[in-house]
Subunit: 446 residues, 2 copies
Amino acid sequence: MRLTRYFLPVLKENPAEAQIVSHRLMLRAGMIKQQAAGIYSWLPLGYKVLKRLEQIVHEEQIRAGHIPLLMPTLQPADLWRESGRYDDYGQEMLRIKDRHDRDMLYGPTNEEMITDIFRSHVESYKSLPLTLYHIQWKFRDEVRPRFGVMRGREFLMKDGYNFDLTREDALHAYNRHMVSYLRTYERMGLTAIPMRAASGPIGGDNTHEFLVLAKTGESEVFYDAKVPELKLGERAVDYDNRAEVAAICEEFTTLYARTDETHDEAAFAAQVPEERRMVGRGIEVGQIFYFGTKYSEAMGATVVTPDGSRVPVEMGSHGIGVSRLLGALIEANHDEKGIIWPEGVTPFHVGLVNLKQGDAATDAACAELYAALVAKGLDPLYDDREERAGAKFATMDLIGLPWRITVGPRGLASGMVELTCRRSGESEEMSPAAAVERVAAIYAGL
Amino acid sequence: MRLTRYFLPVLKENPAEAQIVSHRLMLRAGMIKQQAAGIYSWLPLGYKVLKRLEQIVHEEQIRAGHIPLLMPTLQPADLWRESGRYDDYGQEMLRIKDRHDRDMLYGPTNEEMITDIFRSHVESYKSLPLTLYHIQWKFRDEVRPRFGVMRGREFLMKDGYNFDLTREDALHAYNRHMVSYLRTYERMGLTAIPMRAASGPIGGDNTHEFLVLAKTGESEVFYDAKVPELKLGERAVDYDNRAEVAAICEEFTTLYARTDETHDEAAFAAQVPEERRMVGRGIEVGQIFYFGTKYSEAMGATVVTPDGSRVPVEMGSHGIGVSRLLGALIEANHDEKGIIWPEGVTPFHVGLVNLKQGDAATDAACAELYAALVAKGLDPLYDDREERAGAKFATMDLIGLPWRITVGPRGLASGMVELTCRRSGESEEMSPAAAVERVAAIYAGL
């Protein structure tokens, strides 16, 4: 993409309304625009990252054997009356009356609707196990929306629901979700720690939250210093292998890691040597629940078992806050100049800065480099504006592309361009062809 | 995908509520489930086609130089008060009050919001031309939703908005949209005819609707028999070349083609020889508008011109009904057995039917074929259920995959499988390797 043909409305000033760095940087980098309290437009750069995150979530869910569908944003109130949550949910639920005065609501989550889909179409244990998920906009009418997309009202969430015959099967589904989530966050360049959590309005005993460590996190967290070092890495996972999946979960949840809601000071002291006892703050970016038959009993979602009897289906629900992940990513990856995207989620793979726009030789070299990058399957952003070098560098640093190639007449005279790493700030001179190869190799490894 | 691991709840009976064939077939093929009047869940098969259509729309918009972003579903009422449409829009607009009693609405379209984004960020003619679009769920509270996804209340629409300095520039954007839409529909296997239309609530003089011919269409259409034969085909289009783009528009809009709203019997008789005068019905699947400064004037969206003055920006808006396209596709592509997907939009590339599930040799041959198809980058659906051949064929015919490979012990004895074309019904015996090559070649050509 050529910047002169793109829509990247960066701001020079720090917006007064933004209290945390991710909100400030998303506004300054032209990623979002607030349309009402807690409701945002995703401008092209923000939308591009959002789509990238969505894609990673889809890929990892499908890899785990989960099946995508899409439920609507609006739901009839009657479904929620069946589960008893219509009255319980309180003012966070956006209630709507349509033109025929029917009670509707903007879905804050989908346990009821997915249970309705299940009971309408599934009869037998033979159709199990089954995990359905969607990535859809939700609405929670927060009394005080703040922190940009971190606590918005209209937000994008992946929510998945498992249906199993037995508690044991459902706990395998729970574990499968935990592992698929670990891989999802790792691919995004995040360290998200599963922590035992309290259950809240979804219900259920077994539940873990995934927290990204960041100073601005809303939760206080207590953890063994060894926990953030755990990595899933490149290991292949057979999601049908219960023992293998369970062993990974054990590996990631045995060491002490809790939020303030479930923290136990005595256990912390007993289990963790003092020098490894860490207290910090975390941003919640996902949560998994096993809640058994809570919804299936209330809503009559039963299956015929091998012995011919009928039992309510065992369920759990599992969510990733996709839009809020952008905020968490920036909280965990920025410096005073701006955002630093991990390669796995960057909106463009590499920035191309022309130091002398209008100079025939420099323009030609940039055009050639651009074409060579595209030919390698890369998606570069070419700053072809007639601007000073300083302004171009400031924009690239602000929007946080992990790599930048700088092309100027002086370097070209000796056949060189400069490749700069956004995170380290280090630059290296090399030929244009070598720069293309280097950048291609970095992304080929992802 | 193995069918035993998928969620494909096909119905044996014709659902009583469905009045038209696309609605009936989408329900029977397990593509959608109604959750409230005019509000549907997209079950896995339906969601897969919807995503495919969305992808084609994105690719063709990006090819035309248009930039994706995403606006929220909910909008503040104040924006619509600025344009004057808050009162004009009537009961089709779903009006909502949030917990602080603020007036909101579920967006039925986005002229106001995109104009707000533009005026907040663009100052100068130097940022033009600019076309922004999104694909987002909309809501129109139809008094009598019907025909399944063809006239739903919550529906997925691509809406794009061009911003230009002059009327001439804006008309080029209009033409660019027309050509990109022609290519979009052709890739989906649809013949969509641009017809001059009346303007309706968006406003503007220049407007064309795109209609797919189908007996169940809501509009009566009058056209020259030569019009449906026009094809864009494989020709490369330079979207920056005004003359080239305008010439394509002329080619597709010169012959007579009008809806009942703009039909002129005298002109029809004068311009079209009697034997080519066709009267039929059509389904609207898109519409483009040039409306000049209607919204920019009302909302103060101006730019500084080269001479330093300020003018309201020239605009148009351009929509494709993405979710309704599924209905239109099925109306135009089905027979008494079920759906017949065009290759460009099919949810799975090929069906694989095992005639003797549980037989070691047949199972092994199917597993091998499946792996070979996947290795070619194809997405097969393998019916591995323990069902009679007749039931498997009926399911494949109902869900409409364009190609089917049938594997049975008798054929395998002579090293043969059967490749069947859904549309023609013709079958051919060949080796498994040849079947894989043939199917791969069909999709490689798309």
